[in-house]
């Protein structure tokens, strides 16, 4: 379960001064559901998800993730969250096994339990072939699998995916999409961000459209269609976002 309440994030930028990356974002994401955060680049998706993963601290507002308040108890939140993004790279000089083992240890697991869990994950994800190969020697698809094993090793209740398919080829992206679906089928709470409409249509039970750091609309795809009177998700998105884009940009 994720319950975000008026999440705000303000950055101080030397050139631009105060930048409000996220303003009053509230939503609820239930177990066994996939919540899709849809937005253009710079809309505030990454910042929102980083706050939920406690990598960034909210300037204002808070969220309860897996039952823990992320401002008051960030460590408990981290214990119950699996976070995956294209920015979460692997340690190149560690082997696939060592990489996952390192994170399992940080989650406080005992060595015997780690061994058992990794064997199980590696078999399920078909990773035993490159188990002891260094991460910098792996192909993109293999690296993705190691990252997935890393996010799953502590069996978290909540999964957060920040644009997980960006820059991946079709096959690698498919692995990720399948994996996200599996997470839902296992009753996990899943939130993921993307700017790819088709992924949202395919995967999401619930959709939030974010722009300029604000959540503009929220609901199931059917809700959004009903409210906007549009059928296509892209049309819905443009209709919602257009009033916030300066005129000259649209004209050009």
């Amino acid at each position: 379960m994720i319950e975000a309440e008026r999440l705000c994030k303000v950055f101080q930028d030397k050139k631009r001064g105060e930048v409000r990356a996220v303003t009053n974002v509230s939503f609820t994401c239930k177990p066994g559901q996939i919540y899709g955060l849809l937005g253009a680049n710079g809309a505030g998706k990454t910042t929102t998800l980083r706050m939920l993963a406690t990598i960034l601290e909210p300037t204002d507002g808070t969220a309860r993730v897996a039952g823990f308040d992320l401002v008051k108890d960030p460590e408990s939140v981290r214990r119950n969250v699996g976070f995956l993004s294209t920015a979460t790279a692997l340690y190149g000089r560690l082997s696939a096994f060592e990489m996952v083992q390192y994170f399992a240890r940080l989650y406080g697991m005992e060595d015997a339990a780690i061994e058992k869990r990794i064997n199980e994950l590696f078999t399920r994800l078909e990773m035993n072939e490159f188990r002891d190969r260094r991460c910098d020697k792996l192909s993109t698809g293999m690296k993705q699998k190691v990252s997935i094993a890393r996010t799953l090793v502590h069996d978290p209740q909540v999964m957060i995916f920040d644009e997980p398919t960006v820059g991946l080829d079709v096959m690698a992206a498919r692995t990720i999409v399948q994996f996200i679906r599996e997470c839902r089928n296992h009753g996990k709470t899943v939130i993921f961000s993307t700017h790819v409409m088709s992924e949202v249509e395919k995967l999401c039970d619930h959709i939030g459209i974010i722009h300029g750091g604000r959540l503009l609309a929220e609901g199931t795809l059917a809700d959004l269609r009903k409210e906007s009177g549009q059928e296509d998700l892209e049309d819905i998105f443009v209709q919602l976002v257009e009033p916030y884009i300066p005129k000259e940009t649209v004209a050009s």
């Binding site: 950055f11 101080q12 980083r50 993963a53 406690t54 990598i55 960034l56 601290e57 460590e75 981290r78 214990r79 969250v81 976070f83 993004s85 920015a87 979460t88 790279a89 692997l90 340690y91 190149g92 000089r93 560690l94 060592e98 390192y102 994170f103 240890r105 940080l106 989650y107 406080g108 890393r150």
Partner: protein, 406 residues
Amino acid sequence: MSLRNALIVYRKELTDSLRDRRTLISMVVVPILIMPVMSIGIGALMIEVVGKAQEEIPKVMILGGDRSPRALADLMALKGVQVVPSTGDYRQQISDKKIRAAVDLPSEFDKSLEDGRVEVVKIYNYAGDLKSGFAADKLETSLHDYSDHTVKQRLEAHKLPADLVTPFKVQKENVAPPEKVSGAAIGGFLPYFVIILCVTGAMYPAIDLTAGEKERGTIETILCSPVSRTHLVFGKFLMVLTAALCTAVLAIISMGVSFRAAKAWMASAIATGRGGADNPLNFSIGIKAIGAVFFMVLPLAVFFSATLLAIALFAKSYKEAQSYLSPLIILVVLPAIAGVLPGVELNAKLAMIPVLSTSLVCKEIVSGTFHWSYIGLIFLSSCIYAAAALFIAVKLFQREDVLFRT
């Protein structure tokens, strides 16, 4: 939470760093190789240069000296130099190293000596040039002998005792054991090298564990794990400290081994008549002193590790971190060198300056003097600096604008 997570981070960083070629080179290869290369290289060069300079028979020129056959004959009889015919461009010839020195006898010098007039005999040499110095020394010694001889003759002529002009004699006696005399000069370099290598050993891991993680994109991965940022920085810090101390220990061991070899080699060089008369390496530094040096360097290593880690964390990339840290090396080298310079003595004010104070007190320790009050003061001040640097590093790790600087 306990320190368990900090130790997990440390263990992982150790494995990771030991697989990094750059870190291995700076942590293991450099300290092991630099000492033998330096001591044997410089030793060989010294023996070569000094030996050659002493072997060479320098060419000298005798200017003037007309109607002074006796003085001239005395100079001409000088062994170990080759007298060449005088020309007007002797200054140029000395500069061009065609001749090594020239001596200018005033005209009618013999007569002046008979009449008791005080004349000036000039020696021309090229200051700073070893060979010119040897030649000038030979000329000067010869002239001093001639002067002494003249004094003796004069005293005899007046039937006066020879010791008239020597009312008393002065004699110096050294109370320091012979090994301490040269030990203070050469052993002073020991702490200097240990300090410098401590920094260079810590530099690569410090960059790799911070800016390197940012560059490779692993920082976000580790930040979403449950390890607290304080434990994370602590684990990383321990790794950098390990590298610094490992470098220092290897350097000390390597220095000890190559020193023994160089000493034996010097002794054999002297025995075969090359090199100087005394073995400058004829001293030893006790285990106790080495232990004390290491103990004094310990807080300094903590200080370096934390400082390097904090600065490197601020950088966005490996390259940026390198450009921040390279000037820092000079900042460490300068006070470390100042500590080696003769004449710089420890006092309460200098004891407060990091690096310099450690360099100075270690120099004293190596030459066998233990100023306990200074040792305590310096250890304490270094510990305070180290704690401050570590505190800053921890604080920086809490700051989002530093971790996600764009």
